[in-house]
Amino acid sequence: MASRHLATLTLALGLGCVSAVPAVLAQQTSSDPVQDEPTTAQSQLPPVPADEDGERPAVSPGAAGESGAAETADIGTDRSQPQATQAVGADWPYYGGGPKAQRYSPLDQINTGNVGNLERAFVYRTGDMPSERAKGKYAWEGTPLKVGHSLYMCSAENILISVDAATGKENWRYDPKVSDDAIPYSASCRGVAYYVNPQAGDAAACKTRIIEGTLDARLIAVDAKTGEPCEDFGDNGAVSLWDGIGNKVPGWYAVTAPPAIVRGVIVTGAQVKDGEAEDAPSGVIRGYDAVTGKLAWAWDLANPELTGEPADGETYTRGTPNMWTAPVGDEKLGLVYLPLGNSSVDYYGGNRSDAENEWATSLVALDVTTGKPAWHFQTVHYDLWDYDLGSQPTLVDFPTDKGKVPAVILPSKQGDLYILDRRTGESLFPVKSVDAPSGGVEPENLSPTQPTSAYHTLRKKRLTEKDMWGATPLDQLWCRIQFRRANYDGFFTPPSADKPWIQYPGYNGGSDWGSVSVDPKNGILIANYNDVPNYNRLIARKKADEMGLKPINERAKEDNGSIPAKAEGAGDPQAGAPYAIDVNAGWRSSLTGMPCTEPPYGGITAIDLASGETLWDEPLGEALRNGPFGIASRLPLTIGTPNNGGPLTTAGGLVFVAAATDDLIRAIDVKTGKVVWQDQLPAGGQATPMTYEVDGRQYLAISAGGHHFMETPVGDYLVVYALPQNAS
């Protein structure tokens, strides 16, 4: 059949009008993003006409600023000009699909009319399953890339693999030999980055390369054709990210997300394991030349003068907010959008620096040519709830009354979705300032107000006693007693030690690392989300000491870093702070193990992109594997489970999503929200699916890797579906 590949070749080269940092970008840097008045970009910036395929010419919204686009001479790649981007369609060349990370494909061979005929084309197994030591710590979460005839992926412990995209036959693999010690919270490798060296000849080694960050904090570059390490990159294909971080403690500093590559600069952060100590590895963001692996710049938010490596014996500022999730870049603007998390100690803020308070839980637009921030937008002030920005931002040409505005969609764990002009950081919709509850252990430090988005929020209404749940009146009663015994004053109730407090939404979102999907054709935003509270309590230091809570660097000395797996925050030491933290994630009943709140625990919603209005909102996930005392109920009823992993939307009118704890992948009609196809995966589907085309046939791929925290079976499967060949 004829190829339906809707190539949207995004050639940004030759648009010489791009200035690196327009002056308008620089002015926003220190302003408070919370504004009571509507701020609309259309009143301030000229709309930019979009061309036919939704891509757009480079914009130059202001005169070229003084910030240097010129200081690029010291490295091999010219950062002053945009580089070519790859189009999503037959290929899936970026973690988020195309360069805009919309998790959208223009392929429509699989559509609402025939999706019921999908069958497995092949199942590939990476062979990367947990060793005895790593049991209970695996959560692969991987999404492959597809370029040409090959899929490119990393396994849970970072083995780089290329397989034939039509048959699943392995082309090559490269094992960087990551030790189990390096596993932070989970052994996860969400994806890799693909880069074409514009300066190399077509036959040159590593002309095209696959780049990943590893759990043991290395950047690895291998030849996309052969899997051989790129000799020109770092030390024989590897760059150590431990440089400048300080004492090497395996598992404390680990990369689990794919980097963004913008203008030839690999931009990466790292996951700094939460809740260990205030004196923790730095959250520094670094840019490396994608060809040579040389450090292009560093951005240490608490030490902005330091743009290279720290002096011998010194480190980047310790304990600062980090970026553990995937960033996204804009080649034309030369900006990379960094969703920052919180400081290393989440639930106590009294010792944080002004810089931490300024930047934590913000989206930061960094100029990749200089490593300097252009603007930032903070979603939580004085974050005491682990509301890290976990979702990869999505770029979109946002429809407004006055034409399309280059925007970035910023989902958040507290549920608010922000639409920001990606040139300036201005919100296109009003950002409301709401009064925040007071109290807790540091009332004098709390932010009196918090921002919320007038565009849309995934957050549900506040909990009441009657929302408590259980299997019988007895355990429901116990949860009601717990509800009444806790501090709860709604959204943003501050941490307390005298009594437990209820955090709702919990740290799993709202929107977590799976992020959202945008169907630009129909103007629909698809978001799956969690709807689960946490039941938390601060533990005074003396008691924490009695309980034996110690940070990872002290634990590591004792038992060689083999740490029992547990949910994040369930007894974290927070060394340096006066309190440790105990989190009951998902607020599970101590009687039955069931959630104390009634379902649904997660859903998926379609939002009208232009207005932010809900089109449909359905629970996501069946009760199959859930029940009291950990016994699977086997009920094929939609209950709405917690979910991790993003949606994929296609021009076939379908949303593909797994994510829930029922181990199903399903197709949902984007217009109605109804499930129109589903299949049982061999393990938990906590990953974002992707789609591609080879020789005129569309494929759908999802990794079934399972997730220890989501309590789904662990696996190493890449399951690939297609329509029967004779039926298309």
Binding site: K466, P473, R480
Partner: protein, 129 residues
């Protein structure tokens, strides 16, 4: 009233006529006593914390049902029927037709209703003695 209090029945004779139904009824009475005590005590605690009155009241219903089951009195069924009807009204008042929310509210109490109803032959025979 319970046979044990009638002096006209010799002790040996009384024990011999207790079949499996009687002992199942006693077992149910024990279970309802345990749940009744827990729900009543928890319910009082919940009231003290400013919460719902339902649990303490339904705890009283369960305890009374249990006591009358021990006494093999038909009043056990009547009392539990009233408790269950009250539960039904309360549950729909609280959450309406949200069936997942009704699960903890109605499932177990309805099973208990069926179990208590199943003791009716035992209770009737005891009353006819």
């Amino acid at each position: 009233m319970t046979t044990a209090t009638y002096s006209t029945h010799p002790h040996e004779h009384e024990r011999s006529e207790h079949g499996i139904g009687y002992w199942l009824t006693m077992a149910l009475a024990v279970v309802l006593l345990a749940f009744g005590l827990a729900i009543f005590a928890g319910g009082v605690w919940l009231i003290a914390l400013g919460g719902s009155y339902y649990y303490a009241i339904s705890g009283v219903g369960l305890l009374a049902t249990s006591i009358f089951l021990f006494r093999t009195s038909m009043a056990a069924f009547s009392i539990y029927l009233v408790t269950w009807l009250g539960t039904l009204v309360w549950a729909f008042w609280e959450v309406g037709f949200d069936w997942w929310a009704q699960l903890p509210r109605l499932l177990a109490p309805t099973i208990v209703l069926l179990l208590v109803a199943a003791t009716i032959p035992v209770l009737k025979r005891a009353e006819n003695d």
